[in-house]
Symmetry: C3
Subunit: 394 residues, 3 copies
């Protein structure tokens, strides 16, 4: 979400801050000065985190709930902490989240798990409209976001073939498409085939953008749901041992996960992968720089016996081009089956971003330590939390 740079665009893409306040709250005038202080505070907060703004927080959390300005003054301290938390205007990449934000998002996600059908909580996004602008199909991710929006009472506009979007096909820029679609919706969830596309969209948009995967770039909500699942399953994030298995070279997921895990203390990470798809140096260097202990291993059984989390990934055939032989060799090398499970600890879990082929054998599914379908479901709660935070604030 970009901050409107002129009054005229401001009128276009959002209600000007002041006018809505005046319409909806007669107490506004007498309290203007005190409110103004907060807004100034917001601006300072903004200046340190580019691409984000906080005025929406004040607008939404206050006006939607009918809290008056006087209450604001009294709850000054509370607001301050809210504003400090509110570093979330778009979701573009895993790196934008720090431990505190992650922890706060997870807290909201846990609240989301408890929302019952037809309870007030199931209507908190009523009246809001999300556009899913998918330039490449990803039905799983799309359905997860759309379910999240609808579970909170929101509505959805869907485009699964945005690439064939007549406009894009005719040569329209992503920026123009975003400026059009933001006129129809309150938030855009976007999947694109080009790395950096989500950032470009966020730079132009006057409404929040969520990156649902941009090519080889980022897929931040997957990284969030992975960390959330580890916390839910293991009970902690500091001091754990994680085995990343499979295609570590191309897997966007494991790379993002490594970035996020580096924010926690006393971690040990094992990399277990066929030689052709080993974890790249940049991530290893990054982990080292953050003081995370890591080790490469060719012995899945030994690693599995030590880990809290065995994170298996699919060897992606599409990355091997015509070298089917290399693919076949890599693919069969590390399978999580009952033998692996039998050496794992009682409290440990197997995770997988899905879809899986045969890198986890089907008989593992019925073991309580098979966490991958719970992990998929956690994606729903994380996305509910993000939609709530971006649209109505903390």
């Amino acid at each position: 979400m970009a901050v409107s740079s002129s009054f005229s665009t401001c009128m276009l893409y959002g209600r000007p801050f002041g006018s809505e306040l005046m319409n909806s709250n007669e107490d506004f005038m007498c309290n203007y000065s005190s409110l103004h202080d907060k807004v100034s505070f917001c601006s300072r907060s903004f200046s340190v985190s580019s691409g984000m703004r906080c005025s929406r927080l004040v607008q939404n959390s206050r006006l939607r709930d009918g809290i008056q300005c006087r209450a604001l003054e009294i709850e000054n301290k509370h607001l301050t902490s809210l504003v400090e938390k509110f570093e979330l205007d778009d979701v573009i990449e895993a790196q934008q989240f720090d431990r505190d934000i992650l922890s706060a998002i997870f807290e909201v996600a846990r609240e989301m798990e408890k929302i019952e059908k037809n309870s007030p909580g199931s209507r908190i996004l009523q009246g809001f409209l999300m556009a899913t602008l998918f330039y490449e199909p990803s039905t799983r991710t799309r359905l997860s976001f759309e379910s999240a929006m609808k579970r909170l009472g929101g509505e959805v506009l869907t485009t699964e073939n945005a690439k064939e979007f007549s406009s894009a096909a005719k040569g329209e820029t992503l920026e123009d498409t975003i400026r059009t679609v933001e006129g129809y919706s309150d938030i855009i969830v976007m999947r694109h085939f080009e790395s950096g596309a989500a950032r470009r969209a966020a730079a132009i948009a006057g409404i929040p953008i969520i990156n649902a995967g941009d090519g080889p770039g980022q897929h931040p909500t997957q990284a969030l749901l992975d960390v959330y699942t580890i916390e839910r399953e293991i009970g902690k994030l500091d001091g754990i041992t994680v085995g990343l298995v499979g295609d570590l070279a191309n897997g966007r997921t494991v790379r993002s996960l490594a970035y996020l895990l580096a924010k926690y203390r006393d971690l040990k990470i094992y990399f277990v992968s066929p030689d052709v798809v080993k974890m790249k140096e940049d991530i290893k260097d990054y982990l080292t720089s953050k003081g995370v202990e890591w080790e490469e291993s060719a012995d899945l059984m030994e690693v599995a016996s030590k880990c809290d989390v065995v994170y298996q990934t699919r060897i992606q055939r599409e990355r091997f081009g015509e070298r089917v032989d290399l693919y076949e060799e890599a693919r069969g090398k590390y399978i999580v089956d009952m033998n692996v499970l039998n050496v794992m600890q009682k409290h440990a879990v197997v995770m997988h971003p899905l879809p899986r082929l045969d890198e986890i054998s089907v008989d593992v599914d019925s073991d309580p330590r098979a966490a991958y379908f719970r992990q998929a479901k956690n994606g729903l709660y994380i996305r509910m939390a993000l939609l709530k935070l971006l649209l109505v604030g903390w």
Copy 2:
């Protein structure tokens, strides 16, 4: 819908039976023993109808309506009949329905016809989410289900190209896809290109599955709406005369319809079809075994004059491969036109599963006996009824 086989999966896919009761009903503890009797009863009921379970009935119909356990005891007899009725956990094939269930479903469908916009009835599925998982496009069927869900206040997640579902394209099994999608929705309506796919989905799913057509297999909701239409138009199902016309060899519809009609008494069925697409022996044998009188005829005019229902079907070009000559010959042989209509009885009707090409001439449309568009509309009511029954019970 599969019954959860372990506590851990049970936690995953549904709320455990007891905990919800305890949360929502303070009277539970004191009445536990009496309730337990019912649950045992359910289990017995379950054991005789594999692939179905009844606990949801008790959960939904009782807890949603806030009926207390004491009421349960008093209404013991009523519950018993409810439970007996409740043989419906998934809709997989026409054969699963007996006369009583059909009659009960039709009663609900007639209630559905009466639901007015914005009446309480139009909100009975509020908060529920249906996923339409279509592995081959069938816009008509999809829109019919989605309309049904929305007419009852429910919400919809749509996938029209599930075959290109990135996951399926990458080799994910149907079972894994179902286990993911069931995390996002409350019921799955599924169209697949493989016979038996719906049954496989139901075996794994923790939520209800409706088969919206699985390849050359079944399309049970079409069969239901056909029988419902006959009852609505003719006023009865016993003692009627039905002419099945057109492609009787390949038409999934007429085959399922024949199975369902065999449940009624004193029927006479005529088969009128080009030689290359005659009704197959299995259905004829089945009808004979059920005591249904049937006869093949080459004289559409004579048959039409005797029938209560002339059920015309399209000769499916795609079944003839390169034998365009055979197709063309078969196609023109039995056309329902004004000449046919003129020999039909006043109370009789022409039905067709649609789409039609020219096997019913357009001038027939304006005759009140042309029932095919009403038949299409009845599909809406039947699907509303099924969604209601599967999600909130009788």
Copy 3:
């Protein structure tokens, strides 16, 4: 929307007028005669405008709001004017609108701009279901309509590939498809590749049809939003000077716009286009016959300096076939850039139907006179207004 021609179809596609009144209003009987007068009046009104009917107005505006027949009598005069206004049963082509209707629609569109989230206004189409039946993709237009419907609390059934609609692919006529889909929805928004398709649909449908573009034919809602934008930006429609720039031969948009502008007084229109895509004679003749002054010019700078509105359009590559040379020549000829903007008047605006390639340079976007994204947003309000008018009346 066709008027039902027989009682039996009437029962099928809509509630008969009288019965609903009787059910919902006990005062009906005693006031029958006075109401009957109005209905007769409606019939007269109907006879002069074929393809339209007015009974829905009376049904909707009265019964939905619970206004009783007695009130009707007292508000006789008001009703008369309402009925006179109500010439809107389908939206098929720009020519169907006269100045008064346009002005009335624009008034409703301005009301739509003011609707706040979760206000009563945002629920006026609650319970209504719109089907978007798109035979060719047009994501922008589809999202705009779907957003409009949802902003008013209505629901949507979506088909983006209606051409591959299994039924259409199998040879079903448009008429049969419409008769099926109208059973599932309350209004159909339709995009088709054949000119005249929307009119054919409206002739058969018992519910309102909105033409969202039919091939080289019409795209009336685009024309309406263009005129609405001019009025919003310039403040008036009489006495303005408009420059139509770019592909004037093939642009459906500029042709429809010219038709609508001809309804206003003291206009001056400039045509600025490469020779290969000049405005065709039929439009020029039409403008002349309506007394609209027009002039062709090759000097964009001079025209821009005189205009209130510079309406730029995209040179459509697809119209040039293999003559890429002609396309390239035409394409670069008239670009709206800062040089053009610098000679434009302060109050003037640049419009464009979007998508744009480089016929407006990106640096123009930040000038307040760049009205094209506001124009796109106005499409939302116009479509909200039309949906409201067609479904619940004035």
